[in-house]
């Protein structure tokens, strides 16, 4: 390699490497790297690929359990759901690209997470997304929201995987930095999972899918840099998604896997060919040799550096059984996709790249992975927020007016404008689509169903990262339980600001500890996830958002329950609340923000053990058919939850309110671990509660009039509630 190609620290710094990291590269190589090599180091050691700031804390998460087939470390997590079947799932962020180009950013986010799932041999069966936008009135929100939603739909609808759920919040801290997290769930046979570790020195390495262009070069490093208004003008090339090719690639890969030709396989996600080749070879304890002149390209004169770092979409790398090469080629030709042997597995433990008959890169693999920096970043938690009392927050307003404002508020209003742009029914197995608690998808041709939910309440995490981290897990747990399914495991997406700041690092530590605590107690291990840091614009950090994606299983989907009120004359219970409650926790609630105009204050405390007991009771009651509808109580509290049940159903509810105490605190407080249940067999249900030591009180009953009546107050009609609830986003979007 000629001297002319030698890089300097200056180049390394431009690629986001520190001086220590540069020194380490020199030491490991025992020479100066060239551009391609330095690019590979910088990509592999970027925050996005190496998790250098978060690794220390991720290691503390519980990842094991008898249901876990594969925990973190592969493209997606794998969980046993019985009968020889496995659920394969993961969540991933595409925050920065979506801010720059909302449609393509979101679309390629969906495409990327789908590839992570089918790479493991699973057919994707459901998509979800967790979105955070700026203030609903902010000038950019409308454009970003419409682009992101169209992009998610654009990819998912075309490839034909139903988008069945998700969540959206609006808050000014996301004005300059939105969050777009996409989750995919797939189904595989538990003994037919495919992994990424390369095997068999000498075996062919095959490139399949779309051609490589100069798309998103250095996307991985971009995702690891704080935004400034300047980055917007220095826009790098944006990746463009091609769901049509994505669909062909998915079908071809699944067909090839069924033909038993694949030894190992890895999608080309962040840092493209670099991370896929490095990970495959290093996980297998082997090496790899690739001739870059053989890589199918769609642009002229691409350099080794560009080919290795391109993030062109819809591509895969695999090692196949040599004797199956022709079968494999025929399958890809049938689907009109490129299929190109580009190299071979070696036993050198080195990555060797050829370009124009010269060696463009020759580096040992171990340092790329094992020596990837791992920081123990200092952190300093902020002081905990004071507990706000109901007297400090309660406003003297009629309850109906509060309910109207809450139902119309950006965070609680109907998301119909959004989810109707997603095909939620394709594959014809969606039992409960968007709009309720958890989504429920039937396992094709079986009685089994998978319940899925994504959750996080950033304002709680912001006020108290530990409680907020626990709460995200517990809310997901409640959503899954309310459908009747047994929670199994989680994936998570840690969206935070700049970890080099001590208060942000403290948020990460607190939230991960909280998540771990709740997952351990609830026996829902973490099997996959993603970390997105540096979500800041001009030094303004986002409200921290550790999104939880949880899945659960129900053995008989016909027993699953929705949240709508169906029949009059049934008892309405609050589970998780005792009969002496006359007030509620308003601090940090939606009420506090929307009605009292006050953000912050200590959030409600979360007790995962109690959540476990109450959730188990709900599931048992559904299983024994003692209740006919259930809904968890979360944002907006008890009365908002009741309103949602009326709006989703065909009848109304009549409720008795406690005497004395605070009506607003009782109605809108956000105390945790609670559900509303429509009970059809009261004696059996109360006996079950007593036996389980779960508190539950009857607060009223269902009535045939479609209205919500709180004792002593004028009835509120369903029609009015629907009108308040349904228009906010429609009006914004015009």
């Amino acid at each position: 390699m000629s001297k002319a190609n030698e890089m300097s620290f200056n180049d390394a710094e431009q690629m986001g490497l520190s001086f220590e990291e540069w020194q380490l590269i020199l030491k490991r190589l025992e020479r100066t790297p060239n551009l391609c090599e330095l690019g590979i180091f910088s990509a592999m050691w970027s925050e996005h690929c190496s998790y250098k700031s978060s690794k220390k804390w991720l290691k503390t998460l519980p990842t094991e359990g008898e249901q876990v087939i594969q925990g973190p470390g592969e493209n997606a997590g794998v969980v046993d759901i019985g009968d020889g079947l496995a659920a394969v799932f993961k969540i991933e962020s595409h925050n920065h690209p979506s801010f720059i180009e909302p449609y393509q950013g979101a679309a390629t986010g969906v495409g990327g997470i789908l590839r992570d799932v089918f790479t493991m041999g699973a057919r994707p069966i459901a998509l979800l997304n967790a979105l955070r936008f700026g203030d609903i009135e902010h000038e950019k929100t409308k454009h970003l929201l419409s682009g992101v939603v169209a992009g998610i739909g654009g990819y998912g609808n075309c490839i034909g995987i139903p988008t069945v759920g998700g969540e959206v919040n609006f808050h000014s801290s996301y004005n300059g930095n939105i969050l777009v997290n996409a989750m995919a769930v797939g189904l595989a046979h538990s003994d037919r999972i495919f992994y990424s570790a390369a095997t068999g020195s000498g075996n062919p390495v095959i490139y399949v899918g779309a051609k490589t262009g100069r798309d998103g070069i250095h996307g991985a490093t971009m995702a690891s840099a704080e935004f400034s208004d300047e980055t917007e003008s220095k826009r790098p090339t944006v990746q463009v998604g091609d769901p049509f090719t994505g669909k062909l690639l998915m079908e071809a890969c699944l067909e090839l896997m069924a033909a038993d030709a694949v030894l190992s396989i890895q999608d080309m996600g962040a840092a493209g060919l670099t991370s896929s080749s490095v990970e495959m070879a290093s996980k297998g304890g082997l090496g790899m040799e690739i001739d870059l002149d053989l890589v199918p390209v769609r642009e002229e004169a691409m350099s080794a550096y560009e080919i290795m770092l391109s993030e062109s979409q819809e591509r895969m790398l695999m090692v196949i059984k040599p004797e199956q090469a022709e079968t494999a080629r025929a399958i890809f030709e049938k689907w009109d996709l490129d299929f190109m042997p580009i190299g071979k597995v070696t036993d050198t433990e080195r990555l060797v790249l050829l370009k124009d008959n010269e060696i463009a890169c020759d580096i040992p693999l171990a340092p790329l992975v094992d020596d990837a920096p791992e920081y123990d970043r200092p952190y300093r938690p902020e002081e905990l927020q004071p507990v706000l009392s109901t007297e400090q927050l309660e406003k003297d307003l009629p309850l109906a007016e509060v309910l109207q404002r809450l139902l119309a508020s950006a965070d609680l209003c109907s998301r119909r404008w959004i989810y109707e742009q997603y095909d939620s029914d394709v594959m014809a197995d969606t039992i409960t689509g968007p709009g309720g608690d958890a989504a429920l998808v039937r396992i094709h041709n079986t009685d089994k169903g998978l319940a899925v939910s994504t959750d996080c309440t950033p304002r709680y995490v912001d006020a108290d990262p530990f409680e907020g981290g626990k709460q995200a897990v517990c809310e997901a747990y409640r959503n899954i339980s309310a459908s009747g399914a047994k929670p199994l495991a989680v994936t998570n997406n840690l969206n935070f600001g700049n970890p080099e700041k001590q208060d942000i690092m403290a948020q990460i530590v607190g939230a991960v500890n909280g998540m771990g605590n709740a997952c351990r107690t609830l026996n829902t291990p973490v099997v996959s996830g993603n970390v997105s840091l540096y979500n800041e614009t001009d030094s303004m950090a986002i409200q921290p958002c550790p999104v939880i994606g949880m899945i659960g299983v129900i053995d008989d989907w016909t027993k699953a329950k929705g949240c709508g009120l169906a029949n009059a004359g049934k008892a309405l219970f609050v589970v998780g609340q005792s009969d002496d409650v006359k007030d509620g926790w308003l601090g940090c609630s939606v009420y506090a923000r929307e009605i009292a105009g006050r953000e912050g204050g200590a959030p409600p405390s979360v007790d995962p053990a109690l959540e476990g007991r109450n959730g188990t009771l709900i599931r048992q009651a559904i299983e024994s058919e003692l209740i006919e509808a259930a809904h968890d109580i979360s944002d907006g509290g008890l009365v908002v939850a009741l309103a949602e049940m009326v709006m989703a159903g065909q009848c109304g509810a009549k409720i008795t309110c406690p005497e004395g105490g605070s009506l607003h605190g009782w109605a809108f407080g956000e105390d945790q671990a609670r559900y509303i249940a429509v009970v059809s067999d009261v004696p059996a249900f109360t006996a079950l509660c007593a036996a389980s030591e779960v508190e539950a009180i009857q607060i009223g009953e269902t009535i045939s009039e479609c209205e919500l009546t709180l004792a002593g107050l004028p009835p509120i009609s369903k029609e009015d509630m629907v009108a308040w609830h349904s228009k906010t986003i429609d009006n914004l979007m015009g």
């Binding site: 609808n157 049509f244 062909l248 394709v426």
Partner: protein, 229 residues
């Protein structure tokens, strides 16, 4: 009852349709790959929904020119029955087996929701044998381009000739009946001989058994029994 379902690259409702047909008839439809120019004799060819060829250029345009469609045109010219659903409807329009065109939804957004339909008074057709005119059906739609467009002369002639098979009717008081701006609320039409039908709603997604409605099953049963008679 012999049926065939076409599969294009990008079709994504092919399996759903296959399951629905098999559930009703007890017999699995033949699956025909777009490159096959051969079509074994069948009572009906069904063109399923999806995004054939990514819906690039114009939806249905690239699929309409695939070898398998030549065989379908042949089948139709001999009086064979053809049903196109969603993307299948768009493909039938591109081949000219049905008149008119489908353009972008009026709201310029993909729309996925349940709609209410009314079966119309039509010319003689096997598809609607068991569904008297006025029958109401609840079936979901999911599409980007379901806005049926034709000039007034064509619309009048469809109307007079009894070629309008399904129309959107009011469903949800919070919004308009018509989900996409379609001319004269058209959701499905018939060819002049009554043997080719195209429709936007997805009957295979309203089969009862976990779906919110079973009217799709009712509709497909009428179609499949009608063409087998």
């Amino acid at each position: 009852m012999r049926s065939a379902i076409l599969i294009f690259p990008g079709s994504n409702c092919d399996r759903d349709m296959m399951v629905a047909v098999e559930r009703i008839t007890g017999r699995r439809p033949a699956l025909v790959w777009h490159k096959d120019s051969q079509l074994d004799p069948v009572d009906i060819v069904i063109i399923p929904g999806g995004f054939s060829f990514g819906d690039y250029l114009r939806c249905g345009a690239l699929a309409a020119r695939a070898p398998a469609m030549e065989a379908v045109i042949d089948h139709a010219s001999r009086g064979g029955a053809v049903l196109g659903v969603c993307n299948g409807f768009q493909i039938l329009l591109e081949t000219g087996l049905l008149p008119g065109t489908l353009v972008r939804n009026g709201g310029l957004k993909f729309v996925c929701r349940e709609v209410r339909l009314a079966v119309q008074e039509t010319l003689e057709t096997p598809f609607l044998d068991d569904l008297s005119s006025g029958t109401e059906l609840r079936i979901p739609v999911a599409h980007n381009e379901g806005n049926y467009f034709a000039d007034d002369a064509l619309l009048d002639s469809l109307e007079e000739g009894g070629q309008i098979a399904l129309r959107y009717i009011e469903n949800d008081p919070t919004r308009t009946a018509n989900p996409n701006g379609s001319a004269r609320n058209i959701a499905g039409i018939l060819s002049a001989n009554g043997r080719v039908m195209g429709m936007m709603p997805h009957p295979e997604r309203a089969m009862g058994n976990g779906h919110p409605s079973e009217d799709g099953r009712k509709f497909l049963t009428s179609v499949l029994e009608g063409v087998a008679r």
